[in-house]
Structure formats: C-alpha cells, structure tokens
C-alpha cells in the first residue's frame, strides 16, 4: 500500500484540489484508492459531496476505538473511497498529545487497511503539528504543491530543515511541484524556468485555471468534468510522473 500525502506548511496552495484529482486518477487507472481528509475544514469531503461527519468522532477514530473501516464512504467514482473529516478534527492535535507514540499513530491506523487499498492519499491541513509529523512518518512521499514565488520556495526550505531533524522522517520522499502557475506573471515564468535548483522537483506543473476553482461549485474532480482541459491534462501527466517516481 502506497501512502501519498498532499502537504504544505502554507495554506491555499492547491493541496486539496490536487489530492482530489490525483486520487480520482489513481482510482481510474484501476488502483483501489482511499482519500483521507485530515483537514477539519473538510474541503475534500465537500468536493466529493459527502457529509462531514465521522461516526463516533475524530478522536475515537484516532484512538482506534472504532474501526476506521466503518467511517469510510464510497465516492461517486468506482474504486475511490473517502474517509471524511469533520470539524472536531481541529482538536486532533490535543488528542494525539495524550497518546502513546503519537508520531506513529497514522501509520498504525493505516495498517488495518493494508491489502484493501493500493493507494492512500492524505489531504493535510496547512501547519506543522503532531498530526503532520504523524503524516510524515506514515507516508512514502510528500507531494508538495508550491506556488512559484520566492516566499513559497523559502517555505520548502523550512520543510526540508524540519524533516532533517528526525531520523524517523528520513524514509519519506519530498516531491514538490509547481501549482497555480500563471504564465502571464513574469515571476512565475522565471521561477519555474529556474527549477533546476531542486533535483526532487517534479517536472509537471499545474497551470492556473478557473476550471480548477470550479471544483468547489461542481463538487467533482476537474478530471471528471473537463478531462480535455489544460489543468486536467496536467494532472494526468503529474499522476503518471508520481506513479513512476514512487514505487508501488
């Protein structure tokens, strides 16, 4: 089971949009896929038209009291399931703090799904917290949507330093990609052109497009309703690249 987290310390960079589209594409290629919405805002849950409610609550889910399986919902797409978020998730960090080995918690919970899914996507909230550390430990790769600005690149550097601090984060691969790239902006052009600076950077970039913004209105992945469009095509290329880079 391959675990891929959409993560960035910074908010509003395209984590949720990317998680929804990549998970959709993984499922469409025949992989049994789960998208776990870990953000109390429940944006991914909303996109898939699922009620932001977890049976028994987030805390009990985290404790392992309730089987994680019973909270999972099927989406409208074959092979793609979703583990919804709810508002109580914002107290997850406090709950984690009271538990033994909090950093291993997500990995431990995912173990119970081994054999049931081929790919698991984690849509994270923008922060560094106990929960995100647990995500770093559980994941094979952090997919980091990055807007091509100097500030964003600095944030990437901060993430690198943070991950270097602990041995238990060594295993996770960091794969940034440029997102919301606006070709009309000089800065975007310059930064994406100069991408040789980071070797781990994925080659595919996701263009800025109002079709992606519409996901919140259509409540569906852009690839499901505008498969021919530039951003959808970009997501297909991105998925192919990730699929190659991270061994299943």
């Amino acid at each position: 089971m391959r675990v891929l987290a959409l993560y960035n310390i910074k908010g509003g960079v395209g984590k949720t949009s990317s998680a929804a589209n990549l998970a959709y594409l993984a499922a469409r290629s025949g992989r049994r896929t789960l998208l776990w919405d870990l953000d109390p805002q429940a944006a991914a849950t909303y996109i898939f038209r699922i009620r932001a409610k977890v049976k028994g609550g987030g805390k009990r889910l985290l404790k392992g009291d309730r089987e994680i399986e019973s909270a999972i919902k099927g989406t409208d797409y074959e092979g793609l399931d979703l583990l919804p978020a709810e508002f109580s998730y914002r107290k997850m960090d406090v709950a984690l703090g009271d538990m033994k080995k909090p950093a291993r918690r997500i990995a431990w919970l995912l173990q119970t799904l081994e054999g049931e899914y081929d790919d698991v996507f984690l849509d994270c909230a923008p922060s560094i917290s106990l929960l995100s550390e647990s995500v770093f430990v559980a994941s094979d790769a952090l997919l980091v949507p990055t807007i091509p600005t100097t500030l964003s690149l600095r944030m990437l550097g901060r993430l690198d330093r943070h991950l270097a601090k602990h041995r238990r984060f060594r295993r996770v691969e960091v794969l940034p990609f440029f997102c919301m790239v606006d070709c009309r902006k000089k800065l975007h052009r310059e930064i994406t052109a100069d991408s040789g600076s980071r070797q781990d950077l994925l080659a595919t970039t996701i263009p800025y497009s109002s079709l992606v913004e519409k996901m919140a209105v259509r409540r569906a992945p852009v690839n499901s309703y505008a498969g021919w469009s530039a951003p959808a095509q970009a997501y297909e290329r991105l998925w192919a690249e990730i699929d190659r880079r991270v061994p299943a």
């Binding site: 025949g30 898939f48 038209r49 699922i50 009620r51 399986e69 909270a71 999972i72 919902k73 099927g74 989406t75 409208d76 399931d81 054999g115 409540r219």
Partner: protein, 524 residues
C-alpha cells in the same frame, strides 16, 4: 464489509424499462448509457470452472485488457493489465502473485477464449440530498457468442444489478426493499459463462474429462461393457486430436496418448472376450499411434522439467542451460511437425473410422466367444485379480541386486493393474477401490521416478555429447549438464533404495486382504 451487490432477473427488455422507470419515480436518480465487453477464459479441461472460478478480460484504453479473476464469487484482490495476445500460458503473464496463483491452477495448460459477452447497459445512480451517488443500479441486456466469431450475440435474460456504495447501507437496503417488495423482482443472475460456453467449440463447461467416469451396470455382458469403455476412450482421443496437431499445449498430446494407452491395455487385458482375428489389425495400428506420438511427448516432458531442473542448479549456472533449451525446442518442433502429419494422414483416418465401427457395432452372435457373455462385474474381478497377481509375483522376485530392467517390467505391470482398476472403477464401492488405487499409486510413484531419473540421465548424457565443447557457451552448458547428471544419479539411487519399503507396503497382508475382499472369489 457491509452489503454486497444483489442481482435480479427480469423477463424481457420492456419489463426492464418499466423497472427503471419505477425506480426513477421513487428515487432521485441520474442515468447514463454504457456498454460492457468481456471475454471469459478457461483451459480445455475447464480447470478454472471446476474450481468454481471465472477469469475474464475487459478492454481498457491503451490497447490492453484487464484480467479479472473470481474464485467462489470472490474477486482476486489484484487485477492484471496485459496485451490481449499475452493471455495464454501462465508464464507469459507479468510476474507476481496473480501469475503464481493462476499458474498453480492451470499449470502447463493454455488459456483459451471461451465466451464473449457484450452488454448494452443503463447505469442508474440513486442520489441523496447532496446529489451524491448512494446506490448504483445497472440494468442490462447482455448477449453471448463464441469468441472471435462473426455471429450475432445470443441474447440472455435482461438483468438488474444493485451495487452498494460503501458507507450507505441504509440507502442500499431501501432500494433493495423497493425492488423486492414493491416491484416483486426475483433475485438471480444468469451465468454468462455457463450459458455462453456451449456456443463455442468446446461444449458444456466440464464436458471434457481426461479420465471419463464410465457408468457400468454389474450385470452387463462383458463385451458390451467393454465397448462402452472403449467408446469413452475414443471420445477422449478424438477430442484431443485437433489440439495435439496444433500443439496448443502439451496436455492435449498427453491426454491423447493416455487414452490410446488405456485402449491398448483394455484390449490386452480382455483378449478372451473378442473374436480372435478381429483385434489383430487394431493392435498393430494402435501401437503405431503410440509410436508416432512418443518422441514429441518425451521432448515436451524435458521442456516442462527443464525449469525445475535448472532451479536445482546454483543461480550462476542457470543461464548456462540456454543452449540446451534451444536444442530441445528445435527437436520438439521437428517431432511435432511429424506428429501433426501423422494425425492428418490417411492411415490415421482409416484407423479411426474402422475403430469407431468396431466399438459401435455389436458382434455377430455366432462370433462371440463364451467369455463375452460373462457379467462384467465378475469379469472385471477376474481381470483385476490377474493383474494384481502378476504385480505381486514380479515384485516379490526383486531383490536389492536386481537390475533396473526388473523394476522397469514391474512398472509396466503396475500400470496395467492401474488401468484395469480405473476402467472398471464404477463397479466397486468408491471408498474401497479409491484406497487400493492410492496404495498402488504410491508404489507407482517410486517406480516412475526411478525410471524418469534413468531416462533423463540417458537423454541428457546424449545431449551433452551432441552439444560438444566447441565454444565457451556450449562448454558451460555441458558443465551445467554434468551437475544435473550428478543430481539425477543421486535421485535415482534414492528411489531405488526406497523401493523395498514401498513394495512391502503394497504387498502387505493388510493390502492383499483388502484386494481379496473387494474382488471376492476371484482373488485366490
């Protein structure tokens, strides 16, 4: 994990349309047209079907197909994407657990396309207040035909499948209840594979069996019962002819030969019930058939065994056997061509025609020897008892110093006894004869392995001479062969050492008594 899908059958297309309409009136739905194509695969002897399995391919984009496998209604967890032309032998599929599991089911057999399905369907999605899909319904009118044929699809009963969406069990139950209580639909599903299979060239699923069970009445007259047996064997020969000639997989020839051998054994064992001159030409011609099919079978066996033999070598030396494999393959191809020619020859056709006439037509009363009228139950006792006696006598004469030839002869006698027991199996209590066959089998395994080790040494030794040591590659191959020969010699010695014990078990008082009890008075 919650609910599993339910299927319903509907009388005809109009009724199905009414059902879809009723669902639309009752629930918030959204619909779209789709279609489905499938090709089901199985081996010639229905190995997957017999294990309650279904294997099928579905086209996916990019020119490949997805292979799905269900056993006992449960899907195999992983699917496989392959180019359709790679579906054949297990070893041609991409490596992994799917291939391994399939290989242990189908072994050396080739997967053949058995049924092609095409269905026009309507996907109806039941929505909740968020317009989220909470139940899926597929209403479809499927049709089946023989794969690759140009014929029209034969329509099957339309069906409705209700699929739960995970986490929405209540909604699923509500829809199922509506279908069952209000629309009064009947649960059930047409088995596309079973209905479609007879349209292909291979008959009903399970219709082919390499060892057909032949129902016999104990009171039948001996020659009448034997004809029944011989007809069943002829059917096996004939159903394997085309696959043998085309070399679809090695098992066609194997079954073909076994059926010919059993036929010859049956004639040898029952000489007394046939008019004297009647059998002479058949014996000669059937022996010819055994001979022309022999070389290809031997080479098939070497090629099948080679991977196992290679695996017994150290990793580094395995590749060295490559020249050997190529030599064997070339030989096999040549032998196969001769075999195919023999099976297409006038001589073969004449033999089959006259043989069929013989097994189908009853004898002239005047020509029937008195033994022909013996009830088959008594006659079978006699035949088995005689073959059993011969095995016991020949085996008892073998000591630790006896030459391999003595064991070889005993092996043939055991085979004869085995055939006799299997031919007349239906006349005995299944448990009793089953136990005695197992006892015999254990002895046969020992004798068989002993013989195989010897034959393989001879064969490989001969090949080593032929490969020569003219270049580096063949030198390496000959050295690898040398290692194999050592192993084979060791194996042969082990089997030889194990013989005494196996034979002692088979000739033990207990086993002999069991034979006597089963065969009654005949076993003195």
């Amino acid at each position: 994990m919650g609910e599993s899908e339910r299927a319903y059958t509907v009388a005809d297309e109009a009724a199905l349309a009414r059902v879809v309409e009723a669902i639309g009136e009752r629930f918030a739905t959204e619909g779209e047209r789709t279609s489905r194509r499938r090709v089901y695969y199985d081996t010639f002897d229905w190995r997957l079907w017999r294990a309650n399995g279904r294997l099928w391919s579905e086209p996916v984009p990019r020119g490949v197909v997805r292979l799905n496998w269900q056993v006992e209604g449960r899907p195999w967890p992983a699917m496989l994407e392959v180019a359709p032309e790679r579906i054949g032998f297990a070893q041609d599929l991409p490596p992994g657990p799917f291939r391994e599991a399939l290989a242990s089911s189908i072994e050396m057999r080739r997967l053949l396309p058995m049924v092609e399905v095409r269905a026009e369907s309507r996907l109806v999605r039941v929505l909740d207040g968020r317009r989220k899909t909470v139940v899926r319904l597929i209403a479809e009118v499927p049709g089946v035909r023989s794969p690759g044929s140009r014929r029209a699809y034969r329509p099957l009963d339309p069906g409705l499948v209700v699929q739960p969406v995970r986490g929405y069990a209540k909604e699923f139950q509500r829809v199922s209840r509506f279908l069952e209580r209000e629309l009064e639909l009947d649960e059930g599903r047409v088995d596309e594979f079973e209905v479609g299979a007879p349209l292909g060239g291979h008959g009903e699923p399970g219709s082919y069996a390499s060892k057909p069970s032949i129902p016999l009445e104990p009171s039948m007259e001996a020659d009448e019962a034997l004809r029944e047996i011989l007809r069943a064997l002829l059917k096996v020969v004939e159903s394997n002819r085309a696959g043998t000639a085309a070399d679809i997989d090695s098992e066609f020839l194997h079954d073909f030969r076994v059926a010919v051998r059993r036929t010859r054994s049956a004639l040898r064992l029952t000489k007394a019930i046939w008019p004297k001159p009647a059998l002479v030409p058949f014996r000669k011609e059937l022996s010819w058939l055994g001979k022309v099919t022999g070389p290809t079978r031997d080479l098939d066996v070497y090629l099948l065994e080679l991977p196992r033999l290679a695996a017994s070598l150290p990793e580094s030396a395995r590749g060295d056997l490559e020249p050997l494999r190529r030599l064997l393959e070339a030989r096999q191809a040549a032998a196969q061509a001769e075999l195919a020619a023999a099976l297409g020859s006038r001589r073969y056709r004449r033999l089959m025609d006259s043989w069929r006439r013989f097994v189908e037509a009853p004898e002239d009363e005047a020509d029937r020897p008195p033994a022909a009228r013996t009830p088959i139950a008594r006659y079978a006792d006699k035949v088995i008892a005689k073959a059993h006696r011969r095995v016991l006598e020949r085996g008892a004469a073998i000591s630790d110093d006896s030459p391999p030839k003595a064991l070889h002869r005993l092996r043939i006698d055991c085979k004869e006894l085995r055939y006799a027991m299997e031919l007349f199996r239906a006349l005995y209590p299944p448990k009793k004869i089953g136990r005695l066959i197992r006892a015999l089998k254990s002895l046969q395994e020992n004798l068989g392995s002993f013989n195989d080790y010897g034959v393989q040494q001879q064969m490989l030794g001969g090949l080593a001479d032929e490969l020569g040591t003219s270049d580096r590659r063949s030198t390496a191959a000959v050295m690898a062969l040398g290692r194999l020969l050592d192993k084979l010699e060791l194996g042969e010695a082990n089997e030889r050492a194990g013989f005494a014990q196996r034979f002692a078990a088979f000739s033990s008082k207990k086993t002999v008594k069991r034979f006597r009890l089963m065969l009654g008075a005949e076993e003195a």
